[in-house]
C-alpha cells in the first residue's frame, strides 16, 4: 500500500506540474498568443478560419500552398494583410485580401466555390413560354405556346402531362402565371387580359364554366394577385386597384383609384393586405408619394398611409 501511495503521490504532483506548466500554453493559444521559445516572449497573433462548399479546396496564403485543405484554420498569424486564394479542380478559384488583427479571427466561412461547368438539365418539353414552380407540391406548371396548352411535371421534369388548354382569344405576350392558394386554378395575364384555367377539369363544373378570359380593353394590367380564398383576384392596373371574382359575369369592385402607375407591389396573402407605391391624398388634403397599405377584406377597407407626411417629399 505504501508503494502505491508513493506512486499515487508522484502521479498527483505530476498532474499538478502538468496543469500549471500546460495552462499558460493552453491559455495563450486560446487567447491568440504565440510563444517564441528563442526570446521566451509571447507575441500577439490572429487566425483565419476557412470553410468552403464543397470542402477540400487547396489554400494559398500569400501564394504559398498550405498543408491543410478546407475546412481549415490558419493559426498564429502575425497581424497584417494576407492574400488568400482557394483552388479546387473543376471549380472557379476564390481569392480575397484579408487583414489579420491581433487576438482576432477572420472568418471566411461562407465561401461557395462554383463549378466551371454547372450541371444544367433540361426539364421541360416543347416550346414553353412561361412556367410556375409550386415548391410546396413539387410541381412545375408550363404554358406551351405551340400547343396552346398548360402542362405539369414534377421538379425533375418527369411525369409530364397535359392539364388544360389555353382559352381561345387570349393574346401573347403573356406576363406571368400564378397558382391559386388552393392549387386548383391558375391565372395568367398580359397587358389587357386575364385568363383563368382550372387545374382539375372535373372541378370546373363547380364554377359552372370552362376556362375564362377577362378583358381590360381600356386599362393596362400591372399585376394580379390571388386572394386567400382562391376565388377573388386583386387586379392592379394603371388606373385602379380592383377586386373581382374569378367569374366573367361579375363586375369588378373598384377599391382605390391610382394617381400614378403603381409599382413595387407586395401582397401579404396571410392578411390579405396589398402594399404599393402611389400618390394619394392625405388627411390634410395634400397628396403624398408614399408606400400604402390596403386592407382588402377588413370591415372597413382602409387605405393606410404607412409613411407619415413629412417623412418624404410631397
Amino acid at each position: 500500500m505504501l508503494n502505491e501511495q508513493r506512486i499515487r503521490g508522484f502521479l498527483f504532483y505530476l498532474s499538478v506540474v502538468a496543469f500549471f506548466a500546460g495552462l499558460p500554453f493552453i491559455l495563450s493559444f486560446a487567447l491568440g498568443y504565440k510563444f517564441n521559445p528563442r526570446t521566451f516572449k509571447f507575441t500577439q497573433t490572429g487566425l483565419i478560419s476557412i470553410k468552403t462548399h464543397p470542402q477540400g479546396a487547396r489554400i494559398y496564403l500569400d501564394s504559398k500552398l498550405q498543408d491543410d485543405k478546407t475546412p481549415a484554420t490558419i493559426q498564429e498569424l502575425l497581424p497584417g494583410d494576407y492574400s488568400i486564394r482557394l483552388e479546387l479542380d473543376d471549380y472557379y478559384s476564390w481569392a480575397m485580401q484579408v487583414s489579420v488583427e491581433p487576438r482576432k479571427v477572420v472568418r471566411l466561412e461562407k465561401v461557395i466555390l462554383f463549378p466551371v461547368r454547372p450541371n444544367i438539365k433540361q426539364i421541360n418539353q416543347g416550346a414553353i413560354i412561361a412556367f410556375y414552380v409550386d415548391k410546396e407540391r413539387n410541381r412545375i406548371y408550363y404554358l406551351n405556346k405551340s400547343e396552346n396548352a398548360f402542362f405539369v411535371s414534377d421538379m425533375e421534369g418527369e411525369k409530364f402531362e397535359l392539364l388544360n388548354n389555353l382559352p381561345q382569344g387570349f393574346n401573347y405576350p403573356l406576363k406571368e402565371l400564378k397558382i391559386s392558394p388552393d392549387r386548383e386554378k391558375m391565372l395568367f395575364f398580359n397587358d389587357r387580359q386575364v385568363g383563368i384555367v382550372y387545374l382539375r377539369p372535373e372541378k370546373s363544373l363547380l364554377y359552372g364554366q370552362a376556362p375564362l378570359i377577362l378583358n381590360y380593353p381600356n386599362q393596362r394590367i400591372a399585376n394580379i394577385f390571388w386572394h386567400s380564398d382562391s376565388h377573388h383576384l386583386i387586379v392592379v392596373t394603371d388606373k385602379n386597384i380592383a377586386v373581382i371574382e374569378a367569374n366573367e359575369r361579375i363586375n369588378p369592385v373598384n377599391l382605390v383609384n391610382l394617381n400614378k402607375m403603381a409599382s413595387g407591389f407586395f401582397y401579404d396573402i396571410d392578411k390579405d393586405m396589398l402594399y404599393f407605391r402611389d400618390l394619394q391624398r392625405g388627411a390634410d388634403g395634400l397628396t403624398y408619394e408614399n408606400v400604402y397599405k390596403l386592407e382588402i377584406t377588413g370591415k372597413n377597407t382602409v387605405l393606410n398611409n404607412i409613411i407619415r407626411p413629412g417623412q418624404n417629399d410631397k
Binding site: M1, E4, Q5, I7, R8, L11, F12, S15, A18, F19, G22, L23, I26, L27, F29, A30, L31, G32, T45, G46, L47, S49, T73, R103, K104, V105, R107
Partner: protein, 490 residues
C-alpha cells in the same frame, strides 16, 4: 443556544452558497464579460482533462489491486485470533427476495460460521417485519454462531426515520446478546450492510487479516469495494452505467487514502462504535458520518483501510425508463446528502482544540471541494461552456478565444471519450458471468450503452448534488428515503 443555531445554519448554507455562487458568477460573466468567462471555462476544461487522466490512472491501479487480491485465500494467511464478526442488516421494507441472497452469501463465505453473528434489523412499523423475521430465522438461525432479529420502534425521542437509527438500535441489542455470551466488544468487528449486500466469499478473511495487521485496528474503518453485480445483467442500461460509475468512483477513492471515507456497506471495530455512541440517529448519511464521528472522537487519528474485495449490491431500477431515472435521481440525491457531513465536521472542528489546524483545513476543504465539484462540474461543462459563444455577440465571436473555446471544449469531450474506452474495458472485467437466460447480444448493448454517458451526465451529473445542497441551505432536511431494490422487475 442562538449562537449554536446560527453557526449550524451558516455551515449548512456554505456548500450550496459556494456552488450556486460559482454557477451564477460564471453565467453573469458569460453576459457581461464573455472573454473572462471563456478563460475560466478553458482553465476548468484543462483541469478536468488532467484530473480525468489522474483519476483514470488511479482506477487502473485500484482495479489491478482488486484483481490481485480478491481471490486470495485470506483466511489461510490470517493469524489465529478470537475475533467475532457482527453483521447488521438494517432492513426497511426489503422483501425476502432481497434478504435471502444476502444471507446465502454469508452462509457460503469462506469463514468459520460460528464466528459470525448475524443481526437482521427490522423496522417495527413495517407490517411484514415479523413474518420476514420468522421465515429467515427458521432458514438461517442455526447456521451462524448467533442470529438476532431486532425490531426498531418508530418515533423514539430525538430520532428521525433513518437507517442509522435502526442500525443503532440493532447494534445495542446485539451488544446485549454478545455480552450475554461473554464476548468482549474489542473482539468484535461490526459490519453494517445494506439489505441487498452479498459479500464476496473471502470478505471476512480479508477483513480479519487487515484488522489484525492494522497498526491501530480500533482506529480504522474497513471499506470493501462496492459493486452492483447482483442484477447487473437484468438492469436497464441507464441504471447499470450509473452504478458502474459509482463503483469506479469508490475504487478511485480507495487509492486516495487521505480523502477516503466510508461509503455504503463497511466494517469497523465494535468497541469503537460503542465508544463513539453508535451511528447518529438523526442523519441520513450514516455510512459516511460514522467515519467523521470516529475521526472527531479520536482527534483526527482515524482512517479508512481499503479492502480489495467486493460486496455486491443491487442496481436500483424500476419497471420503466422514467421511473428508473427518478429512482436513480433520488438515490444520488441521498448520496449527495452526504454534504450534511460538512456542517457536522466543521462544528466538530470548531469545538475541538486538539486536532492540528492544518489537518482541519485539509479535511474540511477536501470535503467541501468534493461536494462543490460534484454540484458544478457537469453544469460548467455542459451548460455554462457554450454560454459565452451564445451570448458573447459579434465582438466575442471575432476574438481568437471565441473561436478557440469550442475547439478546446471539443477536445475535452474527445478526450473524455478516450477515457470512456478504458472504463468500458474495466467494466467488462468487473462483470459477473452472463446468466444463461440473458442473450449474448446484451454484451453488445453493454458496450453501446456508454454512448448514453453525456445524457446521464446532464441528468445525474450535478443536479442531485445541487438539489441536496440547496435543500440543506434552506433548512429543508431530507428524511431517509431508501432506494427500492428488486432482483427482477415483474
Amino acid at each position: 443556544m442562538i449562537n449554536n443555531i446560527f453557526r449550524k445554519r451558516t455551515l449548512e448554507i456554505i456548500p450550496g452558497l459556494t456552488s450556486w455562487g460559482i454557477i451564477f458568477t460564471l453565467v453573469l460573466l458569460a453576459f457581461i464579460h464573455p472573454v473572462a468567462c471563456a478563460v475560466i471555462i478553458i482553465v476548468f476544461d484543462f483541469y478536468w482533462i488532467i484530473r480525468t487522466i489522474y483519476l483514470t490512472t488511479l482506477l487502473l491501479m485500484a482495479h489491478n489491486k482488486l484483481y490481485r487480491e480478491r481471490s486470495k485465500d485470506w483466511l489461510g494467511i490470517c493469524p489465529e485470533n478470537n475475533l467475532y464478526h457482527l453483521i447488521v442488516f438494517p432492513v426497511y421494507n426489503e422483501g425476502l427476495d432481497i434478504l435471502r441472497p444476502s444471507l446465502d452469501a454469508l452462509k457460503n463465505c469462506n469463514y468459520p460460521k460460528e464466528k459470525l453473528i448475524v443481526t437482521l434489523a427490522f423496522e417495527e412499523r413495517n407490517p411484514q417485519a415479523g413474518d420476514h423475521a420468522r421465515a429467515l430465522e427458521s432458514e438461517f438461525g442455526k447456521i451462524f454462531g448467533g442470529y438476532v432479529s431486532t425490531f426498531h420502534p418508530d418515533g423514539l425521542p430525538g430520532e428521525k426515520r433513518t437507517k442509522g437509527a435502526n442500525a443503532t438500535w440493532a447494534a445495542k441489542k446485539a451488544k446485549e446478546f454478545l455480552n450475554s455470551r461473554g464476548i468482549e466488544d474489542e473482539n468484535v468487528i461490526i459490519s453494517c450492510f445494506d439489505a441487498d449486500t452479498c459479500v464476496d466469499k473471502e470478505y471476512f478473511g480479508c477483513l480479519t487479516y487487515h484488522f489484525i495487521k492494522s497498526p491501530s485496528p480500533h482506529r480504522s474503518s474497513y471499506q470493501p469495494m462496492p459493486v452492483y453485480n447482483n442484477n447487473i445483467w437484468q438492469a436497464p442500461s441507464f441504471a447499470r452505467l450509473v452504478e458502474i460509475s459509482s463503483s469506479f468512483c469508490q475504487m478511485i477513492e480507495s487509492m486516495r487514502l487521505e480523502k477516503f471515507v466510508t461509503f455504503s456497506s463497511h466494517s469497523m471495530s465494535f468497541k469503537t462504535l460503542v465508544g463513539i455512541d453508535y451511528w447518529p440517529v438523526d442523519m441520513v448519511s450514516d455510512d459516511s458520518v460514522i467515519y467523521w464521528k470516529a475521526f472527531l472522537f479520536y482527534k483526527g487519528d482515524y482512517r479508512v483501510v481499503p479492502l480489495y474485495t467486493t460486496v455486491s449490491m443491487d442496481v436500483a431500477y424500476a419497471d420503466n425508463f422514467f421511473k428508473t431515472i427518478k429512482m436513480q435521481y433520488k438515490q444520488k440525491r441521498r448520496w449527495a446528502w452526504g454534504v450534511e457531513n460538512f456542517p457536522f465536521l466543521m462544528n466538530g472542528f470548531l469545538n475541538d482544540k486538539d486536532i492540528p489546524l492544518i489537518k482541519k483545513i485539509r479535511r474540511g476543504f477536501h470535503l467541501l471541494e468534493s461536494h462543490v465539484t460534484w454540484a458544478i462540474w457537469a453544469v460548467i461543462l455542459v451548460v455554462i461552456g457554450p454560454l459565452p459563444i451564445i451570448f458573447g455577440g459579434v465582438f466575442f465571436n471575432q476574438m481568437a478565444i471565441g473561436f478557440n473555446l469550442s475547439k478546446i471544449t471539443g477536445l475535452l469531450f474527445n478526450f473524455t471519450l478516450f477515457t470512456s474506452i478504458v472504463w468500458i474495458v474495466l467494466s467488462r472485467i468487473i462483470l459477473p458471468p452472463r446468466p444463461k437466460d440473458v442473450s449474448w447480444l446484451k454484451n453488445i448493448v453493454m458496450i453501446m450503452e456508454w454512448f448514453l454517458v453525456p445524457f446521464i451526465i446532464l441528468i445525474l451529473g450535478s443536479t442531485p448534488a445541487l438539489d441536496a445542497q440547496t435543500h440543506m441551505a434552506f433548512g429543508k432536511y431530507m428524511e431517509f428515503n431508501p432506494t427500492a431494490k428488486s432482483k427482477k422487475v415483474v
